[in-house]
């Protein structure tokens, strides 16, 4: 089984972002591996360790700093990496899921991948669309929000989380696209010897423009703004005041 894992370089989830010039200010901001992609990498590496996958290839789209993100994926255990190089922003402002899925489609065809593992969404754009769109373009079965993946008899069995509960989906034969959710696994730390080894692993760079894919943004971003500031709470003196506020100000008591 040849696995392709999507690895997105995003603003670190712990950063408090600021809005500048109708988009999120990326200047000097800490960037990291998208947490859901990290889970996808971990799952791919486990498939390899379980001898179900023969090769795991990590792929990232973005500027040259993506090679750093790919280095982390390689240190976690991927065999090699592909960097699709572009200076277009990947947080929905420039490149959008349609184009991203098209890029993935090209790479999948070139690589001959059997299984594509993606994070369920990027924490910058929060779209969750790349996986399903890619499956559509490839004409492959898809399972999203995977909480458990088991390779079985040439296919995979995936448990997916929904608001109503967990459903188990059996894909009798590959290829397939799976997007990974939080409870799928806990990603390993990259240990230093593996980080050293990762430097020797192959990273191929492909220019996004050379893929023959339409990279245009088809949706226009009209506005980007910070959520309204929460009003500060107040301390009340006693229960009577509390009841008064709940009744007459908040209107939550009859």
């Amino acid at each position: 089984m040849k696995v392709l894992v999507g690895v997105k370089r995003v603003v670190d989830y712990a950063v408090k972002v600021r809005v500048q010039n109708k988009s999120v200010d990326l200047n000097n901001v800490k960037m990291s591996l998208n947490p859901f992609c990290e889970i996808a990498v971990e799952e791919a590496v486990r498939l390899k360790e379980g001898k179900q996958a023969d090769e795991v290839v990590a792929m990232s789209i973005g500027p040259k700093q993506c090679t750093e993100t790919l280095r982390t994926a390689l240190a976690m255990g991927c065999d090699r990496a592909i960097h699709v190089s572009t200076d277009l922003r990947t947080d929905y402002i420039d490149l959008q899921p349609y184009a991203i899925a098209k890029i993935f489609e090209k790479v999948v065809e070139q690589e001959g991948s059997d299984l594509v593992l993606l994070g369920k969404q990027g924490i910058d754009s929060d779209c969750g669309q790349t996986g399903p769109m890619l499956a559509g373009f490839l004409g492959w079965p898809q399972v999203t929000f995977a909480a458990n993946v088991e390779a079985k008899d040439g296919g995979i069995q995936v448990e997916r989380e929904t608001d109503a509960g967990t459903e188990t989906i059996n894909i009798p034969s590959l290829p397939a696209v799976v997007t990974c959710d939080l409870r799928l696994n806990e990603p390993r730390y990259a240990t230093l010897p593996n980080i050293m080894k990762a430097k020797k692993k192959k990273v191929d760079t492909i220019d996004a423009d050379s893929l023959g894919v339409d990279l245009e943004a088809h949706n226009e971003v009209l506005e980007v703004f910070e959520p309204a500031q929460r009003k500060e709470g107040i301390m009340v003196e006693d229960i009577d005041q509390l009841l008064d506020k709940l009744k007459n100000e908040a209107g939550v008591l009859a």
């Binding site: 670190d12 989830y13 591996l33 390993r188 730390y189 990259a190 240990t191 230093l192």
Partner: protein, 417 residues
């Protein structure tokens, strides 16, 4: 005469804010306005009841960093930090509060308000005796600190944290040498945690170390860099780590690849103290020692206490090793009562061990109630006499935090025995 005990966040470790008898407790918690952060100079002016974490958040939102950072930051107040001259994890990089406090406003025992370079605050001001330094670390015995002007450096845009495991203390010393040489100006923190402590922390949180390959190592190091350019810092980090591996100074290590991992690593370090406390009564010592002497000091202490038939003792050690600061903790397993005779014995050996090595009995935690008794053994009579003179100038009636800090002196009124 009524004594007054100023209180901040009550996270002090030497009992300095605990009233002894009938003192009035003066809480600074309502003095919590943050006044300004000058974007050009980085001077942050605030009331001293501000919680350190709030100051850190305020400064970070304005691209600056408060130079003192400790595990208690969610609760401690900057006034307490100033009054104890708190050190913290980035002392090596940003210096002590003596270096970073630009000005202080202090209310004296007689009600006088001293404005020592606080409003307005200038980075350089050589117009008179720099008295604010007396109040930094005075633990509320000379005056109540009410407002501070604190110099904050720019928030580092590049932070890199690694957790390393070493086989021996000699390797710890080697790693320290390599860190200073190859990381140089970007080195910000260098903490150590010994094996038993790391095991205790992992047990307490019921989670194993996030890197199974290096369980049960005798020493763990948390090393962090702060810089202004991720690319440059990565290159320095790479050089540092390559040397460690080429020379075999580390068993293994991990680098944080996200803020979440960075916080997890710091969590391990910050959980050392709480994990100990849950184990039994902790005999806690905060010492300065020559760094190469750490293991010998601990060994000798263990030997001296090995015949203790009173209780099963566990030794947990961690600290800001780069500053020569050892947090030595001896715990009486599953026994939560203070044993005074055991305490006396332990303290005797700790004192001898530190004195013999020219160290300090209180590196950063201060004197409070617990360490004032050492003062006559630590300082010459003429030095102590001058300290008492100063106390008398600022607080002739001895009402500020009586029974703490300085040992008893015939000139100072003390209502408590």
């Amino acid at each position: 005469m009524i004594g007054v005990v100023p209180q901040g966040g009550n996270t002090g470790l030497t009992g300095g804010s605990v009233p002894l008898e009938c003192e009035v407790v003066l809480s600074l918690e309502n003095l919590r306005d943050i006044h300004s952060l000058d974007p050009t100079t980085g001077i942050l002016t605030c009331d001293t009841g501000c919680i350190l974490q709030n100051l850190l958040d305020f400064a970070a939102a304005r691209d600056h960093l408060v130079p003192v950072d400790l595990g208690a930051k969610g609760t401690c107040q900057i006034g307490g930090n100033i009054s104890t001259n708190a050190g913290g994890s980035f002392y090596f990089r940003y210096g002590s509060l003596h270096a970073n406090i630009v000005g202080l406003e202090v209310v004296l025992a007689n009600g006088d308000i001293l404005n020592m370079g606080c409003t307005p605050a200038n980075l350089k001001d050589n117009t008179g005796y720099d008295m604010k330094h007396l109040f930094i670390g005075a633990e509320g015995t000379l005056g109540v600190v009410t407002r501070a002007a604190l110099l904050c450096p720019r928030l580092p845009s590049s932070r890199c944290t690694t957790l390393l495991a070493c086989d021996s203390f000699d390797d710890v010393l080697n790693v320290l040498e390599v860190a200073k040489k190859s990381m140089g100006e970007i080195l910000a923190a260098f903490e150590f945690i010994d094996g038993p402590t790391m095991n205790l922390v992992c047990q307490s949180r019921s989670k194993p170390l996030p890197f199974p390959s290096f369980q049960d190592c005798p020493y763990y190091l948390l090393v962090e860099s702060h810089g202004s350019c991720e690319e440059h810092d990565q290159a320095k980090m790479d050089k540092f780590l390559n040397t460690l591996f080429d020379e075999d100074y580390v068993v293994d290590g991990i680098i944080a690849s996200s803020l979440k991992q960075m916080n997890e690593m710091w969590y391990l370090r910050e959980a050392c103290n709480p994990s100990c406390v849950s184990r039994g009564y902790v005999y806690k010592y905060d010492l300065s020692l020559p760094i190469p002497e750490f293991p010998r000091f601990i060994e000798q202490l263990k030997e001296a206490l090995s015949d203790s038939s009173l209780c099963s003792l566990d030794f947990f050690n961690w600290g800001h090793v780069i500053d020569g600061n050892l947090h030595c903790n001896i715990v009486c397993r599953d026994n939560f009562e203070l044993n005074s005779s055991l305490k006396e014995r332990i303290e005797h050996y700790v004192f001898e061990g530190v004195k013999g090595r020219g160290g300090s009995m209180s590196a950063e935690h201060g004197l409070g109630q617990q360490k004032r008794k050492y003062m006559p053994k630590l300082h010459r009579p003429e030095t102590l006499s001058k300290m008492h003179d100063i106390k008398y100038i600022f607080d002739p009636n001895g009402i500020l935090n009586p029974g703490k800090y300085l040992p008893q002196d015939y000139r100072c009124f003390e209502r408590v025995p």
